[in-house]
């Protein structure tokens, strides 16, 4: 497995290190012995067919699940299995299915995100001392900055449930950033978005990275992933198959096989992969049906990968 690991030059120290993470539900092993490192200043992609265990892995990282085996450490410290402590440590995330606080306003959602970074005594709140008002103002100012950053400032007083879909996604990101994380986990941030929105999200993720926040992103949109990520890991049936730069992963026959469900008997060259992709692109041009590059064919990938990296 380690032979596949590529750490591009110019990246910093490890922010997240998952070591030997295994998650079993009864007899089912959803995630098997996954090793993953995210360095500061990096955007790392996590791809894989549906049901490969990507979201389960995210849940292990954020303390929603307690991994059966393995540890997750953030900046060298092993994380406790309590979600609120994970957030406090500096990991924030968004969800595959939007999970905003629907009956709170946009601003309130972001303020809730700031929970771990603000303090308040019961008495200071009840007495509304000057310290309380100052802390409230600062918190609100910071929340407004984030809303400006994501372009939602004008909608601060709208209820979250009334926002259009794309903006709900943005609000989730703003809320996650509010906890001042060192690492942001994005679970399919562009699901259901049109190409313009996807591109805008791409810009947003770059801007987040430029603020010094490392990003780990799950996505099915390969164009998005390969544009964005310094490094990509592919998860298939709970195991990490490949990890490397976009080119390496794109060219790996096992990844292609996992996505297309076609085992390549003869090791194919890059040309063949390109051919397949060209054919797909052609197919999507003609019919806006299922786009095979977005993993819609994931359900057919029951054929096991040939080469197990372990």
């Amino acid at each position: 497995m380690t032979t596949d690991t590529v750490t591009p030059a110019g990246t910093g120290t490890p922010v997240l290190h998952a070591s030997g993470v295994t998650m079993r539900f009864g007899g089912l092993t959803a995630v098997r012995n996954v090793e993953l490192t995210v360095n500061s200043g990096e955007i790392v992609g996590l791809i894989g067919p549906n049901g490969a265990g990507k979201t389960t892995f995210f849940n292990c990282l954020t303390g929603l699940y307690i991994p059966t085996e393995g540890t997750v450490s953030y900046k060298g410290k092993v994380l406790p299995h309590r979600s609120h402590l994970v957030t406090q440590a500096g990991i924030a995330r968004t969800f595959q299915n939007i999970r905003l606080f629907a009956n709170m306003t946009v601003l309130e959602n972001v303020l809730v995100g700031r929970h771990t970074r603000t303090k308040e005594g019961l008495w200071s709140a009840l007495l509304r001392g000057p310290g309380f008002k100052k802390a409230e103002r600062e918190s609100e100012a910071r929340a407004m900055e984030l809303l400006e950053f994501t372009g939602l400032a004008a909608k601060r007083d709208h209820l979250a449930r009334n926002l259009p879909y794309g903006e709900q996604r943005k609000l989730e990101i703003a809320r996650a950033l509010a906890s001042e994380p060192g690492l942001l986990l994005l679970d399919e941030p562009t699901a259901g978005m049109n190409p313009q929105e996807t591109r805008a999200t791409e810009e947003l993720v770059f801007a987040i990275r430029d603020q010094g926040i490392a990003v780990l992103v799950i996505e099915h949109d390969m164009r998005f992933i390969f544009n964005l990520c310094d490094r990509v890991a592919c998860l298939v049936q709970g195991e990490k198959l490949v990890e490397g730069t976009a080119e390496v992963v794109q060219g790996d026959e096992r990844v292609v096989a996992a996505y297309l469900g076609t085992p390549f008997e003869d090791a194919p060259g890059a040309e063949e992969v390109a051919e397949v992709e060209a054919a797909e692109a052609h197919a999507t041009d003609r019919a806006p049906g299922p786009d095979s590059t977005t993993g819609a064919t994931g359900t057919t990938s029951t054929t096991g990968p040939e080469g197990d990296p372990k």
Partner: protein
């Protein structure tokens, strides 16, 4: 006889009392979807706490001077019992099927009642509660009891403080977030266990205030008083839309008004003279509940239609 203003005043006072207790039901339900049937006993224990504090003071102490100590003691007793119940009875059952904590709550309710009956001196019968001296206060169109003044001042203050707390403070926002989606709230760095304890504690503190109001209004406390008061307050919470704190206040007031008006006027309706008066007030309260559940099951201010216990 035009005593409508008087009946309205009686109803509002009673309703404010129900509303204060109902807060405890609705906050706990809003966050952990548990109907804490022991809440009536939390209220009753607050009453005995206040009485204990009063008896500590030298005989003949003016009730007005004793009141701050009584409030503190009542709150301390109620909050401690509620937090203990949460920690040792409900928390181990979190994640269990919803019937388990519900039955635990009923058992706890009986246990607390019997504990006071058995261990509090002379609690096998009603204990007299100190009352304010002087007669009723005449306000022109209607008169209120001197003890009711406590409720008139305390209930609005408590409600305003709670409204502010929930909507404007960090902990209040965390509480709203937890009630909407506990898992996501955890991932926002909110310690949901602490939020749940806070909800129990606030409900208990409000019940303690209500217990003192109840004591000075009726001049006695007894170990059974939590049962019917709790049932009425629960009705108020459901009436207003359980899980909604403003609903609890409104539900309490509506229920109090309905009871007062039914008691006073039902007997004037031809053919229903048998069904009026104090003996039937509980019946009319629950008839109102049934009507609301039939016509507007989510309660007056409620939004959630699904999953009501």
């Amino acid at each position: 006889m035009n005593d409508l203003p008087q009946q309205l005043a009686n109803g509002l006072l009673l309703g404010a009392l129900y509303g204060l207790i109902a807060i405890g039901y609705t906050m706990v339900y809003g966050i952990v979807q548990l109907i804490n049937f022991a809440h009536g006993e939390i209220f009753m224990i607050g009453g005995f706490g206040a009485l204990t504090a009063y008896l500590w003071l030298p005989a003949g102490t003016s009730l007005l001077f004793a009141l701050p100590l009584m409030i503190l003691m009542a709150m301390a007793c109620s909050v401690l019992v509620a937090m203990g119940a949460e920690r040792f009875a409900y928390r181990p059952l979190r994640g269990a099927p919803r019937l388990a904590p519900l039955i635990t709550a009923i058992g706890l309710s009986i246990a607390l009642q019997q504990a006071i009956w058995a261990f509090y001196p002379d609690a096998t019968k009603s204990r007299p509660f100190p009352e304010f001296e002087g007669g009723r206060i005449d306000l022109g169109a209607f008169a209120i009891g001197r003890g009711d003044l406590f409720l008139v001042i305390a209930a609005p203050l408590c409600m305003i403080a709670l409204g502010f707390f929930v909507s404007k403070t960090r902990t209040g926002r965390a509480m709203q977030a937890t009630s909407q989606d506990p898992d996501t709230a955890k991932l926002m760095g909110i310690n949901t266990d602490r939020i749940i304890v806070t909800a129990f504690a606030i409900g208990a503190a409000f019940a303690a205030i209500a217990a003192i109001a109840h004591g000075v209004k009726y001049g006695e406390v007894n170990f059974k008083m939590g049962f019917i008061a709790g049932l009425k307050a629960f009705t108020a919470a459901v009436l207003g839309g359980i899980g909604n704190i403003y609903g609890a206040m409104i539900g309490g007031l509506v229920l109090g008004l309905a009871e007062a008006l039914a008691t006073a006027y039902i007997e004037n309706i031809p053919g229903m003279s048998q069904l009026g008066g104090g003996a039937w007030k509980d019946v009319w309260a629950f008839v109102l509940l049934i009507l609301v559940l039939l016509l507007r099951p989510q309660g007056l201010l409620g939004q959630r239609v699904a999953d009501r216990a």
